[in-house]
């Protein structure tokens, strides 16, 4: 099978109709490089043409059919043979026959469902791509073009703060608070740590962002933890009554939205890990999940200046915002409120 479109005699290119106006987004490839791909959202139409260029204009190309497919698939690295396709659309472009001159075939996949965001991770990859195939007796000519899909959400209706008292009895009691439980990718984590009891010798405190990628099901579940960020928030020994502020800008880090049980194949979740380190290098930590979501970049054009300011102050949702974007915005699944703990939660200690 020749995968690069450069078959013996024909060059295949896939071109999008809106290539000029469509935005491109950076996405990491499997080997860590960053490349730009055309950006699509759920429900958008994918249309363009497949152009065939005969290398030798005198030689005709015999084929068993030409088609174009739009595929969304999940690939688990430990099981490369099996691709799980969750979107698979096909359009026939030509019946079996002959190509005697270079030509282009138009195609349109209308209002394609793209339920999940593109993701390239440590053990799993979710990608969307167009694949043009010229079937032939001995070997097909195939050309693929990857695209990137982003899933957008709106400001959640319920976004309570996370506030908890944790510690080790009679040694260390702290109360930590994060202003929200759901953050968008360019958001700021505003919080504080309040020391109620300090009977250990603390040297410094940091907050880490941990990404956990979970693949597999049942007994074969595998978690891959990756510390995306380490951010020192305190240097020195605190005493009782001290309040340490947290202000962590998420835009500086490589983050994706939280992805829960995608097609029952994998999940990507994020945790804030508050770590206190004492003078003997002992680490005391408390991990807390936060939900990350992607906010659309589209500017609100038709709102009056006053209304714009009012909506900025009001951190809750406005259905007006969703309509402005004109994009389907999925509902938040499984709303749970972060409960205010009334009893002392456990702070883990690792020596």
């Amino acid at each position: 099978m020749s995968f690069f479109g450069f078959g013996q005699s024909v060059e295949v290119e896939i071109l999008l109709n809106d290539a000029e106006s469509r935005k491109r987004a950076e996405h990491k490839t499997e080997d860590g490089k960053k490349e730009k791909y055309f950006l699509f959202y759920d429900g958008e139409t994918v249309s363009g043409k497949v152009s065939l260029a005969l290398k030798n204009p005198n030689k005709r190309l015999e084929h068993q059919g030409i088609k174009i497919e739009f595929i969304g698939q999940i690939e688990l690295y430990y099981d490369r043979g099996n691709h799980h396709e969750f979107v698979s659309l096909v359009k026939d472009l030509a019946r079996p026959g002959e190509i005697s001159q270079s030509q282009a075939f138009d195609f349109e996949f209308t209002h394609v469902e793209k339920p999940y965001e593109s993701y390239t991770g440590q053990n799993v990859k979710l990608r969307y791509f167009l694949r043009a195939t010229i079937s032939r007796r001995l070997n097909d000519v195939v050309k693929e073009m990857d695209i990137v899909v982003h899933t957008l959400s709106t400001y959640p209706e319920l976004n309570s703060s996370i506030k908890m008292e944790v510690g080790i009895e009679d040694c260390l009691h702290i109360e930590f608070e994060y202003n929200k439980s759901k953050y968008h990718l360019k958001d700021v984590i505003v919080g504080k740590i309040y020391f109620l009891l300090v009977r250990i010798k603390i040297k410094h405190m940091e907050i880490d962002i941990i990404k956990r990628e979970t693949t597999g099901t049942g007994p074969n579940v595998y978690h891959e933890n990756d510390t995306i960020a380490k951010y020192e928030i305190m240097d020195g020994a605190p005493v009782r009554g001290e309040s340490i502020p947290i202000r962590l800008f998420l835009a500086g880090y490589e983050l994706t939205p939280t992805m829960r049980d995608i097609n029952k194949k994998f999940s990507v979740r994020y945790y804030l890990n508050l770590v206190l380190i004492d003078e003997e290098e002992r680490r005391y930590f408390k991990q807390q999940e936060v939900v990350l979501w992607r906010k659309g970049d589209i500017v609100r054009k038709s709102m009056s200046h006053q209304a714009a300011i009012a909506s900025q102050r009001f951190e809750g949702t406005t259905s007006l915002v969703a309509e402005e974007w004109g994009l389907p915005c999925p509902k938040w699944q499984g709303e749970t409120q972060a409960r205010e703990a009334t009893s002392l939660g456990v702070l883990d200690v690792v020596l």
Partner: protein, 166 residues
């Protein structure tokens, strides 16, 4: 992006700190010194003891000041007790120096001044690391080691009674 500007400048409400808390003595004072090594006994029955002096204001320790004499094997006993009963990773002790105990050495062996000083430093590091660990502070063997005159090897191992939160 100006809606994030509102979040940036916002601060969460925090209680103002009591000045007595801010400028008062810290509640985590714990210092253990190991000093004054003395070799007791004669001939082959000699051994070295070290003074273990502790000063603290942690309420978990019954005495705010204590001073006891301990030998190397007592430290070994403490390490074994903690390794068996507590879940912590116990730091290493300075070496046993078996080679120094063989006969026909040119020097004083384990009673050599430089060796005793080396061992003293290692024991000091060891005990300070242990005594500050919240889980070790729960073990009766640690309190017996630091604050009781003699170590009762036939004691009943266990945790200190934990106080329920009010």
């Amino acid at each position: 992006m100006s809606d994030t500007a509102v979040a940036d400048t916002r601060r969460l409400n925090s209680k103002p700190q009591d000045l007595t808390d801010a400028y008062g003595p810290p509640s985590n004072f714990l210092e253990i010194d190991i000093f004054n090594p003395q070799t007791v006994g004669v001939g082959r029955a000699r051994f070295t003891t070290y003074e273990v002096r502790m000063r603290t204001n942690l309420p978990i320790f019954k005495l705010k000041e204590s001073c006891v004499r301990r030998r190397y094997s007592d430290f070994e006993w403490l390490k074994n007790e903690l390794e068996r009963d507590s879940k912590i990773v116990v730091p290493p002790l300075p070496g046993k120096a078996l080679k120094r105990q063989l006969p026909f050495r040119g020097d004083e062996g384990i009673f050599e001044e430089s060796f005793i000083e080396e061992r003293r430093q290692g024991l000091e590091q060891f005990i300070n690391k242990i005594a500050g660990h919240p889980l070790a502070q729960n073990e009766r063997c640690l309190h017996m080691f630091l604050q009781e005159e003699a170590i009762d090897r036939n004691y009943v191992p266990g945790k200190l009674a934990t106080h329920p939160l009010a």
